[in-house]
């Protein structure tokens, strides 16, 4: 086992990140056009969505005027081009469904979503990895059997249902954690302590719903690695169990898990949508769903760009980690 050196290979890593960023531009361009095309073809009518229940008593004339005002009668390509040119100039347009500029919609909400998703992702990765290693170490042991069956159950359990269950248990039965919101419901100031306690349940639920994948990957990877030559060699050299497990087995067993980091990002985003709704978390989720069902082009496009960027960044991160963990892979991709 040769270490890649104490210093991280910053140069190749930066080059890889740079290449990916250049590649991201055309991807984003295609994705935004795709969003406009899909939205234009969707059966939802932006005018009806905008009008809501008021639309049920509105006159046709009123609805037609709204259609003109909202600019949704323009042809697809023209609308996309108008959006793109002003977006490049820094103006993301106004969200019709939220009745405010898209930039405001996103800045008000995105931070809280990122906080929730990142915390949950860390919970899932750290807890999944440590439980996976422990389970692989004694395969078939009580910990392995308990955690594995729990993992399969959780894999099948919808985040929505987990949220309700967690709320019932921790907020109602035990009364130890708040059931929802960002701060205490009657409080107007956002303090660190309040956000921290209110973050526990949603982040734990979202994290736990993502955990099975990490746990199962690590468990399998480490278990396989324990059978491999380098590990047997290490054992033969008389290295202690801890070094064998963490230094050798985990290192090669983690490789499949690292690719998972990238591919779980979309799942994490959709999971966050559900969890935010259940816990009244003031994130971007509700806005995303509304933007989609109301065919709110400017908001939808901005959110898709963000989600695409998150997925691309997740893939980049997982490739960088992979390259670090296994120098043979390198940073060429």
């Amino acid at each position: 086992m040769t270490h890649p050196g104490r210093k991280l290979p910053w140069g190749p890593m930066a080059r890889m990140a740079g290449r990916r960023t250049l590649f991201a531009a055309p991807v984003l361009l295609v994705v935004t056009f795709g969003v406009f095309a899909v939205a234009a073809a969707s059966p939802f009518d932006p005018v009806k969505a905008y009008a809501g229940t008021a639309g049920l008593t509105a006159s046709q004339e009123n609805l037609d005027q709204l259609r003109v005002n909202l600019g949704v009668d323009q042809p697809l390509v023209e609308r996309w081009w108008n959006w793109l040119t002003s977006a490049v100039a820094g103006d993301l347009g106004d969200s019709s469904v939220m009745r405010q500029p898209v930039t405001d919609v996103i800045t008000e909400r995105l931070g809280w979503s990122v906080l929730l998703a990142v915390t949950a992702f860390l919970v899932a990765i750290l807890l999944g990895t440590s439980l996976g290693v422990l389970a692989a170490r004694r395969q078939g042991g009580w910990l392995d059997r308990a955690v594995s069956s729990a993992a399969y159950t959780l894999e099948a359990a919808p985040a929505f249902w987990l949220g309700l269950l967690a709320m019932w248990f921790f907020a109602l039965r035990l009364g130890v954690l708040p059931a929802g919101g960002l701060t205490d419901t009657d409080s107007e100031v956002v303090t660190f302590g309040q956000v921290a306690t209110h973050l526990v349940l949603p982040a734990a639920v979202l994290g736990v719903s993502q955990l099975p994948w990490f746990f199962l990957y690590v468990r399998q990877g480490v278990a396989d690695a324990l059978e491999e030559d380098p590990v047997r060699g290490a054992r033969a050299r008389g290295l202690d169990e801890r070094t064998v497990l963490l230094g050798h087995a985990l290192r090669s067993g983690m490789l499949p898990m690292l690719t998972l980091v990238g591919s779980r990002v979309p799942e994490l985003i959709t999971g966050a949508l559900l969890v935010e709704t259940v816990f009244s978390w003031p994130g971007i989720a509700a806005a995303t769903v509304q933007a989609a069902t109301s065919v709110d082009f400017p908001l939808l496009a901005a959110l898709t760009v963000l989600a695409t960027a998150a997925v691309l960044a997740g893939n980049l991160l997982s490739d960088l980690l992979y390259g670090l963990a296994d120098p043979r892979v390198g940073f060429d991709g």
Binding site: H3, L122, G175, S280, W281
Partner: protein, 531 residues
């Protein structure tokens, strides 16, 4: 390097877990502390408003908290003056309405309220460039102008008796809202008004926070802090009410029932104009047939729907006007009578075929019935209706769809529709039954066409005399018995569960669209904490 970082990671996980449990431990009792006093109220609502700007439709039916209208409704839905000093003077055969304004009223930013603000509000709403979907409600307005600082005159295109009830819509300050884009300016999220409460925060998707307006012209509210938590899921709302996080919440009947034996909480059932109906399109060969319509009208078991689907929280409906409204035409109730339905169909020549479904002149008695997909309440009503119709030999196929799918089919297919605006009998009946509105967006979805009804509806909205209006709306309701172009099924009660911390809680008669303005907190500014 890697093994070290993994050890570090394990340590971090452990630290993280400890921090989480430590944080969890610091919590107990904390949330209960702020809730003892009655000067703070927290309620859970199901819908978040898109905007708080009256110019875009917020608060058009009153109770907007942040704003006041010229007039307002009391608990019996009687008009009383708010920003107007008295009820309007009506002249010119019901075509001009003159409002004298209350003096000395200030917006929450300290600037005085004058006639300019009223004119600005109405003119902006009626402006073509303003994206307000409810502006059709002000269709009658020809012009609005100020006469001095404290008088406003509305001129109408046609005499419109219920106009005063439209003027509960909130007044926006010209000096704030007039300075920005009406459709997306910051006023839509950071409103300034004359109302009993001032918005202190709106955390989208989480809650709206209000504090009492110390300078409110009607006296400072005793509930100093008022919070509306936005909780879309019914079960979550019920759970948070149970944990004491909320003082009150709107709940569906099955969840409200679980609080029935709760000592510290009371369930309030608000009466409503919120109807569910089946449109029977005139252009459908079966549903447009008067005999089929009359048969369906008595074949349907409304009582069973109220008991089974609404769990008792509602009443049978025979038209848009609820049976307990003063405008309801007594004697137009229809009892469930399957034998009578069969007799009507037999006599009209609709004879049962081999499969039990009736046929007349080669036309099979069948038509599709659409309901909004995902709407459980409408689905249940639709299925019950189809099952009742089947017993009389009429085959109704229920189908789910979004409005985009349903709307183009409304001319020929039946729809399980809902709606209801309290107050004037003109509001629902005119848009549902007036033949000239057939096929105009969602108005008159059944393409109902009855000259006697058209005439009575016109008379009802134009006449200023209550007796004439009552006669007109009696005619409408009796015509609807003879030719029921819609089968009205139920009026739905809205249920609210509230802690017994305040005295004198009431509910108004509520509309179909019961957002944050409805519920016992419609007048939270008048609540008195119990000692």
């Amino acid at each position: 390097m890697l093994s070290r970082s993994i050890r570090g990671a394990a340590a971090a996980t452990l630290a993280g877990t400890l921090a989480i449990s430590a944080a969890a431990c610091s919590k107990p009792g904390e949330s209960a502390a702020g809730h003892g006093a009655g000067d703070s109220a927290v309620v859970g609502i199901a819908y978040e408003p898109e905007t708080l700007s009256p110019l875009l439709g917020y608060g058009k039916d009153g109770n907007s908290k942040i704003f006041d209208g010229l007039l307002t409704f009391d608990k019996d839905m009687k008009l009383k003056p708010a920003l107007a000093a008295e009820l309007p003077e009506v002249a010119d055969d019901g075509r001009t309405y003159t409002y004298t304004l209350r003096q000395g009223v200030k917006f929450s930013d300290g600037k005085p309220f004058t006639s300019k603000d009223v004119v600005f509000t109405y003119r902006t709403i009626l402006d073509k460039k303003t994206n307000n979907a409810s502006k059709t409600e002000l269709d009658a307005v020809e012009d609005v102008r100020a006469e001095g600082d404290h008088k406003v005159v509305f001129t109408l295109k046609y005499p419109y008796a219920p106009f005063a009830e439209r003027t509960v819509l909130p007044i926006a300050p010209e000096h704030v809202a007039g300075e920005q884009d009406v459709n997306s300016g910051s006023f839509t999220t950071k409103p300034v008004g004359t109302g009993p409460y001032i918005l202190t925060g709106w955390s989208k998707g989480e809650k709206l926070s209000f504090k009492a307006n110390p300078g409110y012209w009607g006296g400072e509210p005793k509930v100093k802090k008022f919070t509306m938590a936005i909780i879309k899921d019914d079960d979550v709302r019920a759970t948070r009410l149970r944990t004491g996080d909320l003082d009150g919440a709107i709940l569906p009947p099955n969840l409200a029932k679980t609080f029935k034996d709760d000592d510290g909480r009371t369930t309030y059932a608000a009466r409503s104009f919120d109807y569910r109906t089946v449109t029977l399109p005139t252009h459908n060969k079966v549903a447009g047939d008067t005999d089929v319509r009359r048969a369906l009208d008595v074949a349907v078991d409304r009582r069973a729907m109220v008991d089974k689907i609404l769990e008792g929280a509602g009443k049978p409906a025979y038209g848009p006007v609820p049976t307990d409204s003063p405008w309801f035409a007594k004697g137009t109730e229809r009892t469930h009578d399957l034998a009578k339905a069969k007799k009507i169909l037999d006599e009209a020549g609709w004879k049962p075929g081999a499969d039990g479904i009736r046929v007349k002149d080669g036309v099979r008695a069948q038509f599709p019935l659409w309901y909004l997909s995902g709407d459980k309440l409408r689905q249940d009503h639709a299925l019950a209706y189809a099952s009742d119709a089947k017993k009389a030999g009429i085959d109704i196929k229920t189908q789910a769809g979004t409005w985009e799918v349903i709307m183009p089919r409304m001319k020929h297919d039946a729809v399980l529709a809902g709606g209801g605006a309290p107050g004037d009998p003109d509001f629902d009946q005119y848009t549902l039954l007036q033949s000239s509105l057939a096929g105009d967006a969602f108005n008159n979805m059944a393409w109902y066409d009855n000259p006697a009804v058209d005439k009575a509806l016109k008379k009802g909205r134009e006449s200023g005399e209550t007796a004439d209006r009552r006669a007109a709306y009696d005619t409408v309701q009796r015509e609807l018995v003879k030719d029921p172009g819609y089968t009205f099924l139920t009026h739905i009660d809205h249920l609210y569960v509230v802690d017994d911390k305040w005295s004198g809680l009431t509910t108004q008669t509520e509309p179909h669209d019961h957002g944050l303005a409805s519920g016992p907190w419609w007048n939270v500014e008048d609540w008195t904490p119990k000692k």
